[in-house]
């Protein structure tokens, strides 16, 4: 089990390096992040054993990322709408 997850991680690393060499236009970042998320999830589920752990541990593991998304989402809500009113500055 550990070894197959390990091989998958190596394969994904190779893919992410290979994909980075191609120009996918707006998809560059989503693809790179998608692969990173997949790799991270594999580590969390198998190496860190969340798959076999209690629902509480799963909730805790997810909550960190949910809170991160709140920080990112709301802050970018400011940066992305700054130009809308045409105020000088950003």
């Amino acid at each position: 089990m550990c070894v197959s997850v390990f091989l998958a991680l190596l394969v994904f690393t190779a893919i992410t390096v290979w994909v980075a060499g191609l120009d996918l236009g707006p998809l560059n970042t989503p693809v790179a992040l998608g692969i990173a998320v997949t790799k991270g999830t594999l580590v969390v589920l198998f190496f860190m054993g969340v798959r076999w752990n209690t629902p509480l541990t799963k909730t805790v593991a997810i909550s960190g990322f949910v809170w991160l998304l709140i920080l990112f989402g709301i802050t970018m809500g400011d940066y992305l709408t700054r130009g809308w009113l045409g105020v000088p500055g950003r």
Binding site: C2, V3, V5, F6, L9, L10, T13, T16, V17, A20, G21, L22, D23, L24, N28, A32, L33, I35, A36, K39, G40, V43, V44, F46, F47, M48, G49, N53, T54, L56, T57, V60, A61, S63, G64, F65, W67, L68, L71, F72, T75, M76, Y79, L80, R90
Partner: protein, 218 residues
């Protein structure tokens, strides 16, 4: 020491009722701690997102200056170390003392390799005037200095976590060599493993975001 603890495991602390409660508390504790770590790195990733949004071109240019081969090598090194760490935890659960020590030492060796590679990368940045501050190459475009500030903060704090991880592993491997950990008591190995894997995950995100960003344009 005449407490009536004849049936208690010697490694069971007195405020816990049994070994299961102790193990569950320590793993949950580590997970809660890792949530704080996620938020700690999260502040840096927030800055990364904002400035990448502001300076998309400078970000690609700055990323060219990083050596993706070395970054890729370090990614591999960390993934292998995660595997050996997972195997060390399993060896502890199976009460295999020799395997534990072997896998823990391998993990530590790989961690050291990572830091050595990192050292040579940093050295190259100093030589190329890419360290922010008065000596930063003034010919470079606006925003690139912020990229390198973030690069050094992110990889620097990550490397600090690796150093702390190596310290924890030293403690664990000494105890493992004494035969402390076995099927009944392996909490510390598992908790150290969780921490190590987390540091690996941070790098899994740092690698594409910092090193691979500008590769298709190169």
């Amino acid at each position: 020491m005449s407490t009536p603890t004849t049936t208690r495991h010697p490694k069971l602390q007195e405020h816990f009722y049994n070994m299961d409660q102790q193990l569950e508390a320590s793993t949950l504790g580590m997970w809660v701690f890792l949530v704080t770590e996620v938020m700690f790195f999260g502040g840096l990733f927030m800055a990364y997102i904002v400035y990448r949004h502001m300076y998309p071109h400078a970000w690609v240019e700055a990323s060219h200056e990083l050596n993706w081969q070395l970054g890729g090598l370090n990614t591999m090194v960390l993934i292998v170390s995660s595997l050996t760490m997972a195997l060390a935890v399993r060896a502890a659960m199976l009460s295999e003392k020799k395997q534990q020590v072997f896998y823990l030492l391998t993990t530590m060796a790989l961690g050291t390799v990572f830091l050595v590679v990192k050292f040579f990368e940093y050295k190259a940045k100093f030589e190329h005037h890419l360290v922010p501050g008065p000596h930063f190459n003034p010919a470079l475009e606006q925003g690139m200095q912020i990229f390198f500030s973030l690069y050094f903060m992110m990889t620097g704090i990550h490397a600090a976590h690796m150093v702390i991880g190596l310290g924890i592993m030293t403690y664990i491997v000494i105890n493992a060599a004494k035969g402390t950990y076995n099927a009944e008591y392996y909490g510390p190995v598992e908790v150290a493993g969780l921490y190590w894997h987390f540091v690996d995950i941070v790098w899994i995100f740092l690698f594409p975001l910092l090193y691979l960003l500008g590769r298709h344009g190169a």
